[in-house]
Each structure stands twice: as C-alpha cells, then as structure tokens.
C-alpha cells in the first residue's frame, strides 16, 4: 500500500539546451535566403542595391498575405485550392461595385466581404461534409468561384481606380513599400494568434487529432470555419493589392496562386498532414521564393528555368525534413 502512495513531481522548467527541430529548420531557411541573396548579387550587378530590397518585395508580397492563413489551414491538416479563384471573385466584385458608382472605400469593403463569404462557404462545406476531403470540396468551389467571376464580368475589364488606390501597391512610406508595412502588421497578428492564443493552440490540436479535440471540448467546426473565413479575407486582401498594382480587374487574375502559396507554406516546414510547423518558416519562404524569382529574373534566367528550380527546391527541402523526422523518431 505504501508503494502506491509515492508522488511524482513534475518540473515546470523548460530544458533550454534542447533546441527544437523546427527552430533549426527556420535557421536553415534563413541561411538559404542569405545564400540566394549572395548568389544573386554575384551573378548580377543590379541585384545588391537598396532599390532591390525596397521594390522587389512589391512584386511578390501580394501572395504573402495568403501564406499566413494557408499555414493555419495546412496545420489543421486541410488544404484550400480555391484561393486563386477567391482572389478573382473578390476583385471582380470590387470592380463591379466601383463601376456602379460606389465610392472606392465601399468597393474595397465589398471585396473584403466577398472574400469573407467565399471563405465562410468553404469552411461551412468542409465542416458540414467533413467526410469529403477538403481537396475535393475546394476543388469544386475553385471552379465555381472562378466560373462566377466569368459570369459576372465576362470578357470585360474594369479600370480607372483613384490614384490613392493605385498607390497602395506602388507607394512607399519612408522608403518602405506600403504593401510591406501592411504585411508586417498582418504577419505579426497572425503569428501572435497562432503561437500565443488559445485559438492557435487549438489549431495545432485539431491538426494532430480532430476527434480528441472535439472530445476535449474544442469547438472544432467553429475554428475550421474561422480559419477558412480568414483565408477568404486574406485572399481578398491579396486581390486588393493585386488590383492596385494592376489598376485593372479581370476575371482571370490570380490563376494558379493556390499552388504557389501552398508551395511556400510547405517550403516553410509545415507538414501537410497537420499539426507540424510554425508560421515563421512560411514567412521566410515568401522571401526565399520572391528573391529567387526576382534575382534570377534580373539575371535573365528564363521563367521556365526558374519554375524548374523552384520545383526542385521544394522537393529537396521536403525530402530533407522527412529524412530528419525519420531519424528523430528512432
């Protein structure tokens, strides 16, 4: 009887010497980023200038907004391949609102609202019909959202937005592009939400084990809907910056964005099966792929070669994480 009464004590001190594996992965990404910048500078004299670091991000930051919620979705163990179409539909709705005489701010709200509705719809489908894989459901909505954009705008384009709107995508404050500033704010928010709030913790829990999360009282469906809605919202934000940069709206914009965004998230060390990864990695990946494209472009490397290189980079990086995880397990 005495033996049963022993008590174990649980330490609450973190063992600082064990560096988490994922931290290492992010350091690796930073090293790759530096490597790419050094390399780009070496092959093109035009690369290593202040201008590059200020204007180049303009060219690739728009997708970065979608990388943040897509990280959440992959952490949930789900996927959303309809985001490119949401970009198009929110842009089209914005354009139509503007065309019908609404003030620009209202048009912007329309776009954001459209994104939210699309995202919410995706979330609703994925919770109501959770038997079906998200890949299939969002594949269907992808076609529907894109199709609806065509139905609405046909082959027309809408342009003539006010200058201040165009400036969103092209302007700078104190030398730093506006798009970059907005991204920094949004990224900090998403990071804080994922790593410092209950909501973020629950995303990991759902990603690892959905049923356990439900039984533990986590409002799984609500969280999934929120995440997909955020995804829609950020797709709308992307559409705003994209249309601002293009100062024109068409039904065919944002084609293929979903795969680029997913590739960035995966390169950032987020596992597609859910639960594994942090948000910093995908953020660094945005810059890795962005600077790689920009730098190679400046060096006159053909775009299909760049695509090929990014494909190989994606596979090699995932292969390396896998090998490391495998070693870790034994």
């Amino acid at each position: 009887m005495e033996e049963l009464k022993w008590k174990y004590e649980l330490s609450t001190k973190k063992d600082k010497s064990i560096k988490s594996f994922f931290m290492q992965w992010e350091w690796l990404l930073v090293v790759i980023l530096i490597l790419i910048i050094t390399f780009n500078s070496s092959i093109s004299g035009n690369f290593f200038t202040v201008n590059t670091f200020l204007t180049a991000p303009m060219s690739f930051m728009d997708k970065a907004f979608m990388v943040l919620p897509m990280t959440f979705i992959l952490l949930l163990g789900m996927i959303d391949i309809s985001v490119g179409s949401i970009v198009a539909l929110s842009a089209v709705m914005m354009g139509l609102a503007f065309q019908s005489g609404a003030p620009m701010w209202l048009a912007i709200v329309t776009s954001l609202f459209t994104g939210v509705i699309c995202g919410f719809l995706n979330g609703l489908l994925n919770t109501k019909f959770s038997e079906l894989p998200p890949m299939i459901l969002t594949f269907a909505t992808q076609t529907i959202f894109r199709g609806f954009s065509y139905v609405l705008l046909e082959n027309n384009s809408i342009s003539g937005f006010p200058t201040w709107y165009t400036n969103l995508g092209w302007g700078s404050v104190a030398g730093i592009p506006i798009i970059m500033l907005v991204f920094i704010v949004v990224a900090i928010l998403f990071t804080a939400v994922l790593h410092k709030t209950v909501f973020g913790r629950e995303i990991y829990a759902i990603g690892f084990n959905k049923r356990t999360s439900i039984i533990s009282g986590v409002k799984v469906n609500r969280n999934i809907i929120i995440v997909f809605t955020l995804m829609g919202l950020m797709a709308a934000v992307t559409s705003l910056f994209l249309t601002s940069r293009m100062s024109s709206v068409r039904a065919d914009i944002g084609m293929g964005y979903e795969l680029e965004v997913i590739a960035m998230v995966v390169l950032g060390g987020v596992n597609t099966s859910g639960g594994i990864g942090r948000i910093l990695g995908p953020i660094i990946s945005v810059f890795i792929i962005g600077f790689l494209r920009y730098g190679l472009g400046i060096a006159n490397v053909s775009s299909q070669t760049i695509t090929l290189i990014i494909g190989v980079l994606l596979i090699v990086s995932v292969l390396v994480t896998r090998i490391k995880i495998k070693n870790k397990k034994i």
Binding site: I79, F129, E131, L132, P133, M135, I136, L137, F139, A140, T141, Q142, T143, I144, F145, R146, G147, F148, Y150, V151, E154, N155, L259, I262, A263, V266, N271, T272, S273, S302, Q304, T305, T307, L308, I310, G311, V312, L314, I315, V318, L319, R322, K326
Partner: protein, 337 residues
C-alpha cells in the same frame, strides 16, 4: 442453417445497395442526356457520339492511371506536365527521325512516362513526401523540361510523319484507334486490379498502409508500381495527344490534371485510398466527357461553362455523400432494437 441463409440473403441486399452509388450517377447521366438531346437533337447522333468518345478517350486512359495512384492514397498533379513532356519528346523524335517506325516514338513516350512515374513513386514511397507536394514539385520540373526539349518552339503537323498522325486517326474494326486504346486500357486494368496480385496489393496499401508490412506486401514496391503505371499511361497518352492534335506545344495539357482528378472523383474513387472500381470510373469519365461535349452544343455562353462544370461536380459529390448517409440511416432503422 436457415439463419445462415437468411444472413446471406441480407448480405445480397447489401451489395445491391452498394451499387446505388453507380446507379445514382447513371440516372443523373441519363437525365442529363435526355435534357441535352431535347435541347439539341444533334447530340445523340453517330458522329457526335464518336466525337465524344474520341475526345474522352485520353481522359479515360489518364484517369485509369490516376485511379491507381489514388487507390494507394496518393495523387498526381504532374500528370498534365508528363503528358506535355512525353508528347513533346515524341514529336521532336519523329521530326528528327521521320524514317524510323512509329513504334519508337510510342516507346519513347512510355519510357519517359515510366521514368517520371518512377521518380515520383520513389519520392512518395521511399522519400515519404506527401504526394500533393511531390507531384507539385515534379509538375514544375517536367514543365520546365518540356520547354527545354522543345527548344521553346512548337512541333507542327508538317513536321510529323503520316504514320505518327495516323496513330490517333486510324481505326480497327471500324473503331477509332484512340477509343481502342482507351478500351484496351480499361480492360487491361480491370483485369489487373481484379485478378492480379499486384493489383490487389495496390488496394491493400491504400486500405491499410500500416498492415502491409505485416502481411508481407512490399509496400514501397507496390506504391512505386502504381506511380510507374500511371506514368506509363500518361506517357502513352502524351504521344497520342500530340498525334491527335498534330501539334506539340510547351503548354500542352496545362491544368489537365484537374480534369482527370475530377473524372476520378465523379467515378467514386476515394482520395483517401483503397476504394475505386473501373466500372464506376468509366461512368465518371463519361459524365465529364458528356459535359465537355454538350456545353458547346447547348449554346451556353462560354462565360457560364466553368460555373456549370464546378456546380455539377459539387452536386455530384454531395449527392453521392447523401446517398451513402441515407443508406447508413436506413440500415440503422432496419436494426431491430
């Protein structure tokens, strides 16, 4: 003993119910066909049906390969790029060596398909990379290679030999070669999946991955086999594609993987693995083929096409799910408590 018979009978009812899925799709298709026929009487004519089958045959072949991959629980987004790579290579080959028998270009396309399938299969099985990501990466690689092989140019009809072009235009027993190719593919893989050990092992791997090592199935080899066969079919289809349209472009088949996956999903192939039949798959492929054929015939504005296609896919998969749920509920009600 009588109880035994009773139970077996009950089971027979159950199998009948399981086909409800297919019957549902069939009914859906028939209704759609009647509607189309009413709108445009040219729909159910010999020529149009031949056109429809010809245009759907490559989709059919590709979806068989995709089904093999999906049965293992995988997916292949690179299939469109493989199509382009093998087609471009074969066309280039034909234009450089017009005197060699056409079989060589077919073999070349299949070889390329096998190699791409092997790489992807190894990445997925040995490399343990998620198939979506692995095939996404390979899609980029193959697409890039296609431009390299094609030297940024197209290969046009006049650069191809008549024998090469007749691969897809010729016919046997009154049936167009393409249709024959796809029927043969369906037949071979029906046999393969039903009566060959490797075929059954593909189902087993997708049904319970963990158990395969205990059962003594060479898991990785089975997965690689599925991807290689998929690559082989895609490589073959690539050559036929180029032969059919008598032109090879760098951007051949961009996004075609989505049509192929849609056909599989409509045909009841589970993305989770282990579930899928050739018979249902044929229905799914035909459904998509009818859709592609009928939209222009119905004189529907081109701007509505995507929307309608997406909507029908969504309705079909939700209907499928509803039928399954309904069946389960009925079964529960029948349970005597």
């Amino acid at each position: 003993m009588s109880e035994n018979i009773l139970k077996k009978n009950r089971y027979k009812n159950l199998t009948k119910n399981m086909n409800v899925k297919e019957i549902g799709l069939l009914v859906f298709m028939i209704i759609a066909m009647i509607y189309i026929q009413m709108k445009n009487p040219q729909f159910l004519t010999g020529t149009n049906i031949t056109d429809l089958l010809k245009n759907t045959s490559l989709l059919g072949m590709l979806s068989v390969g995709m089904m093999l991959v999906m049965l293992t629980g995988g997916i292949d987004l690179s299939i469109g790029a493989v199509l382009a790579l093998s087609g471009m290579s074969a066309a280039r080959f034909v234009s450089i060596y017009p005197d060699l028998p056409v079989v060589f270009s077919l073999l070349l396309g299949m070889m390329i398909g096998i190699v791409t399938g092997l790489i992807l299969g190894l990445l997925v099985s040995k490399g343990r990379i998620n198939p979506t990501i692995a095939s996404l990466g390979m899609m980029n690689v193959h697409r890039g290679l296609t431009y390299v092989v094609g030297n940024n140019a197209w290969i046009s009809a006049h650069q191809m030999t008549p024998a090469f072009k007749s691969l897809s235009t010729g016919s046997l027993f009154g049936l167009n070669n393409l249709i024959l190719f796809s029927i043969t593919t369906f037949a071979i893989f029906y046999y393969f999946l039903q009566y060959a050990k490797t075929g059954r092992n593909i189902y087993a791997v997708g049904s319970n991955y963990e158990a395969t090592s205990i059962t003594g199935i060479a898991t990785n080899r089975t997965i690689v086999t599925a991807y290689v066969l998929n690559g082989l079919i895609a490589g073959l289809a690539g050559v036929l594609w180029v032969s059919k349209y008598a032109s090879a472009q760098g951007d051949t088949g961009v996004g075609y993987e989505m049509s192929v996956i849609a056909a599989c999903v409509l045909g009841g192939v589970s993305v989770r693995g282990g579930v899928g039949k050739i018979s249902s798959l044929i229905l799914g492929v035909l459904m998509l083929g009818i859709l592609n054929n009928a939209l222009p015939l119905l004189n529907i504005s081109t701007f509505w096409e995507d929307f309608i296609t997406g909507f029908i896919i969504l309705v079909a998969i939700l209907l499928n799910l509803y039928i399954q749920k309904r069946q389960k509920k009925d079964a529960l009600k029948r349970r005597a408590i």
